[in-house]
């Protein structure tokens, strides 16, 4: 069965006909060729496929493309605006919060959503927020520091 969907991805409207079973992550990667969103597991444990669905982080390997009709999806490619990096992107480089780069896009999306909701998160709140995103390279400390750094740059409590 096919479904007609209208979805806005990183501000661009898309119309598409998708199979019932098509996963959102495959729609993003294969149909839209936005390959920044990665795949790391099939059980929604690792979080490397995290995107924002109407502002909320979701694991796009466990969302069907057919479910996002009428929604707004944001991926790592949409973080930069007007040629300017998002503060969390800058902070990841500044604090060496990435190594192999594979978990990075999902981690950035989770962290950017956290900063939208909480402009001044504590270390524990950051750790809790990213606990659905696995990273094998960094040991997480520099990611925590990057979020704190970005929070400072954005300007503390909203």
């Amino acid at each position: 069965m096919k479904h007609q969907i209208s979805v806005t991805v990183n501000g661009t409207a898309h119309e598409a006909e998708v199979e019932s079973r098509l996963l959102l992550v495959h729609f993003i990667r294969e149909e839209l060729r936005l390959t920044g969103t990665h795949i790391g597991c099939d059980t929604s444990h690792c979080g490397v496929c995290t995107v924002l669905l109407d502002g909320q982080p979701v694991k796009s390997c466990t969302v069907l493309a057919a479910q996002v009709d009428g929604c707004k999806v944001s991926t790592v490619e949409g973080l930069e605006s007007g040629g300017k990096l998002h503060p969390i992107q800058e902070a990841f480089t500044e604090k060496h919060a990435l190594q192999c780069g594979y978990c990075t896009p999902g981690m950035l999306m989770t962290c950017s959503a956290l900063l939208e909701q909480n402009r001044n998160p504590s270390e524990q709140e950051i750790r809790q927020a990213i606990s659905g995103n696995l990273c094998r390279c960094t040991g997480y400390l520099n990611i925590v520091k990057a979020v704190q750094h970005a929070a400072q740059k954005i300007g503390g409590a909203p």
Partner: protein, 789 residues
């Protein structure tokens, strides 16, 4: 301290330069294998065995082939026609690509479906019907090695037992005698379980055979692209794939940790499919395939005996190991060292008598024995010695720090020849432990522990003072399937003074694009930002053995340094020509030659580069390039002391790592930020195996830990706020005094954590707990001791 010699513009060694890799990764513009989409590309999905041991009676592909879009099913008999159904492992054992008769482990590849789309390939794999005859399963290596056990490897002619190999080092009789004469002997059975690297990116490839050119390009997740090219040529030469027509490209790699060293059947089947069909074929394994079928690490059953005098002076060490290798020995170990560098097991201590032996055994489990972020079995060796030193300390009622201090190889004894044959290049073990004790506040923690014990609270302090052994070659001792373990660098300085540097290694997150550029900057004074680093494409990079076992800085890093020095020597001749003086009149500061005593009379490296193409001295070969193949004279021996503080929950058995202090020494440092980052990551990959990660099997060979549902990779919540520091003891034989570092923390962290947990329970009479120390394991112990809440 190696304070930077260069300014921030040149950004040579010692600068925490921001990574050159980052701009693409933070924008989602990395290029990983699954991001590659070629015109006309097909997709492959693999049918895997539900049984650990079974005979394949029939593979019925008729339903699969009826699905629109399914083009072919490749099985063992298909490959047998081309004599490609078996392949060598990198330990020179043999491994099925696809079975023609029996499957030997659960999740083994049975056949592969090729289709026009990913989802259709998966549909096809679901529709293949395989008729199996289940056969008896052998999962226990101790039973497999026992006399009279059924022989597993019936494919091996005349094989009468299940021994993959026996290996030993040291003097058995002498060590036995020394143990007999010891006043105290600490004896401990230590199991280091089967674990999986679980890099965030799984394995996969795009095999692209171009029939018009007869050329095969394989984009694949490999840590060793050149070695893979040679192996492909050796294995498939008879079907027309010769080495000059094979190009292996290792694009961005989402973590390797040793798991991307072997050649897995999936790669070979995809290549065969592309050659037969004449179109590109993509194969990407999912997480369950990754955890269940790719090479595992560890799985060492060790009986450790450590002798000592009553005053704590160590006398002798003996380790007898049964190693479970699964159905084939697919370890990624050098040929001469089938048990890797396990004989580093005397560790940081001055032992005069030692013996170790390893019996490697076949079982009905996936093949392997790769490293998990460690240099060839060093983690197992370090776990054995560091655990048993604590067992001894407990027996002697000595403080474990004091016992270590008493027995460390003294700083003045380096280079130190160990009784098992290694020449440790440099070290200062007491300094590292002293520093770690100061940072953690050892004495006050011991007091706190005493007070907490009175209140019934369980808190432990664990120490590990490890010695690593990394950076293979030297080539006289180290090779993979005959290929010597050197490594390479090629540097080209362009007329405008910018440079391109290519290497035989391959970064998987280590930051080579940054650190190698810094080495070139250090040697030539060309800003690191002007040095473009490339790796991973066998058509352009110089031959090398790849990145694993913490070998990149010790080998290719050294090669970069020496190639750059060749360039500097040539540039010096050019500078002398330009300044109309003799070379002997010239001095060098990074980036510039000048006439001794006349700093104004100078030529920059960029001016020399331009002259190398526009105004070279008469008779000089034009250009400014150099290549160096570096064969290290010895391995490097990084070390460190780690102290871990844990709190145990008496209600749940949960181990909370409260603090973790890591003092590392990897000699001179290229980029402190990157070294620190690698240690952080390594520590997390120490917490995982110490507390959570394990792959185990039931008696039928069914896996437990085969998905992220039950293979617990630590999250940000399980990892503490790492406290890292360093001492610097340069390697005397490395061109710029560096040692490898990427794996130190994975090696050193698990014993520190295990020692801390045992320390928390030692007053209850607990002397050992095998890793992973799960909440259940701790709770059972607490219950047995009557202190569970």
């Amino acid at each position: 301290m190696n304070a930077p010699r260069t300014d921030a513009k040149i950004c040579g060694m010692g600068h925490s330069m921001k990574r050159k890799e980052d701009p693409r990764f933070i924008r989602g513009k990395g290029n990983y294998v699954d991001d590659i989409k070629l015109p006309g590309m097909l997709y492959m999905d693999i049918v895997r065995s539900p049984y650990a041991h079974a005979r394949i009676k029939k593979i019925d592909t008729s339903k699969a082939l009826k699905i629109p879009g399914v083009l072919a099913v490749i099985d063992g008999p298909t490959l047998e026609k081309y004599k490609l159904h078996w392949m060598p492992t990198i330990s020179a054992d043999t491994q099925m690509v696809l079975p023609t008769d029996e499957v030997m482990y659960q999740a083994q590849e049975v056949c592969a479906v090729i289709a026009t789309e990913r989802y259709i390939a998966a549909d096809g794999a679901d529709a293949v019907e395989v008729d199996y005859e289940p056969l008896p399963v052998m999962v226990d290596p101790l039973k497999s090695i026992a006399p009279g056990a059924p022989v597993l490897r019936k494919d091996k002619k005349d094989k009468k037992d299940n021994l993959a190999f026996h290996w030993e080092a040291g003097d058995r009789a002498d060590t036995e005698k020394a143990l007999q004469a010891s006043e105290v002997v600490a004896e401990q059975y230590v199991y280091v379980p089967r674990i999986h690297v679980a890099s965030m990116e799984t394995c996969g490839c795009v095999a692209d055979f171009n029939p018009a050119e007869g050329k095969l390009t394989v984009y694949m997740t490999t840590q060793a692209p050149h070695a893979v090219r040679t192996v492909f040529a050796l294995v498939a030469g008879h079907v027309g794939l010769s080495e000059e027509r094979i190009r292996i490209v290792s694009p961005d790699i989402g973590g390797g940790f040793g798991g991307k060293v072997p050649v897995y059947p999936g790669y070979v089947i995809a290549v065969a499919a592309s050659v037969v069909i004449g179109k590109p074929v993509k194969w990407i394994e999912d997480r369950m395939e990754n955890l269940q079928a790719d090479s595992f690490a560890r799985d060492y059953h060790m009986k450790v005996r450590l002798g000592a005098k009553k005053d704590g002076t160590l006398t002798a060490l003996s380790i007898k190991t049964i190693a479970d290798h699964g159905y084939t020995n697919a370890s990624a170990n050098p040929m001469k060292y089938p048990a890797g560098l396990f004989s580093i097991c005397t560790g940081s201590y001055d032992l005069k008598h030692a013996f170790c032996e390893v019996d490697a055994v076949y079982t009905h489990k996936p093949p392997g024995g790769v490293a998990y972020r460690c240099s060839f079995r060093v983690t197992e060796a370090v776990h054995a010695i560091e655990r048993v030193v604590d067992v001894l300390a407990q027996k002697l009622k000595m403080d474990p720090a004091e016992l270590r201090m008493k027995n460390f190889i003294a700083p003045e004894r380096f280079p130190y020849k160990s009784v098992l044959g290694w020449e440790y290049d440099s070290g200062n073990y007491p300094a590292a432990l002293k520093k770690a004790m100061e940072i953690v506040g050892y004495e006050s923690l011991r007091k706190e522990q005493q007070e907490k014990r009175k209140r019934g609270e369980l808190m432990g302090i664990g120490i590990c003072s490890f010695t690593e052994i990394v950076g293979a070659g030297p080539s006289k001792d180290f090779d993979i399937l005959g290929i010597k373990m050197f490594d390479s660098a090629e540097i080209r300085v362009h007329p405008t003074g910018k440079a391109l540097a290519r290497f035989g290694t391959k970064s998987q997150g280590q930051g080579h694009e940054t650190t190698y550029a810094q080495i070139v900057a250090e040697e030539l004074g060309i800003p690191a930002s002007d040095v473009q680093v490339e790796e991973g494409d066998t058509d352009t990079a110089p031959y090398g053995l790849g990145t694993y076992a913490s070998r990149s800085t010790p080998t290719s890093g050294a090669a970069a340094s020496l190639a750059a020095r060749k360039i500097r020597n040539k540039a010096k001749a050019i500078a002398a020509h330009l300044l109309e003086c003799s070379e002997a009149d010239l001095d060098w500061v990074p980036g510039k030659f000048f006439i001794k005593g006349v700093p104004d009379k100078s030529k920059t490296i960029q001016e020399c580069a331009f002259a190398a193409y526009t105004n070279m001295p008469q008779g000089m070969e034009p250009g400014l390039e150099a290549t160096h193949y570096y064969d290290p004279p010895n391995l490097t021996f990084p070390f460190g002391s780690y102290i871990c503080v844990v709190d145990l929950d008496r209600g749940t058995g949960e181990v909370k790592v409260r603090r973790f202090v890591a003092v590392d020494d990897c000699g001179n440092i290229i980029n402190p930020m990157i070294v620190d980052g690698q240690i952080h990551g390594g520590l997390a990959q120490g917490v995982g195996p110490a507390l959570y990660e394990e792959i185990s099997y039931d008696e039928d060979g069914n896996i437990s830990g085969g998905s992220f549902l039950d293979y617990y990779v630590p999250t940000a919540l399980e990892c503490p706020k790492w406290e890292t520091d360093k001492t610097i003891t340069p390697s005397p034989h490395h061109p710029f005094g560096a040692k490898g570092v990427g794996e130190s923390a994975t090696v050193g962290a698990p014993p520190a954590i295990a020692n801390a947990v045992v320390d928390a329970l030692s007053h209850l009479g607990v002397t050992h707990v095998d890793i992973p120390i799960t909440p259940e394991k701790v709770w059972q112990l607490l219950k047995a001791k009557g202190v569970a809440e």
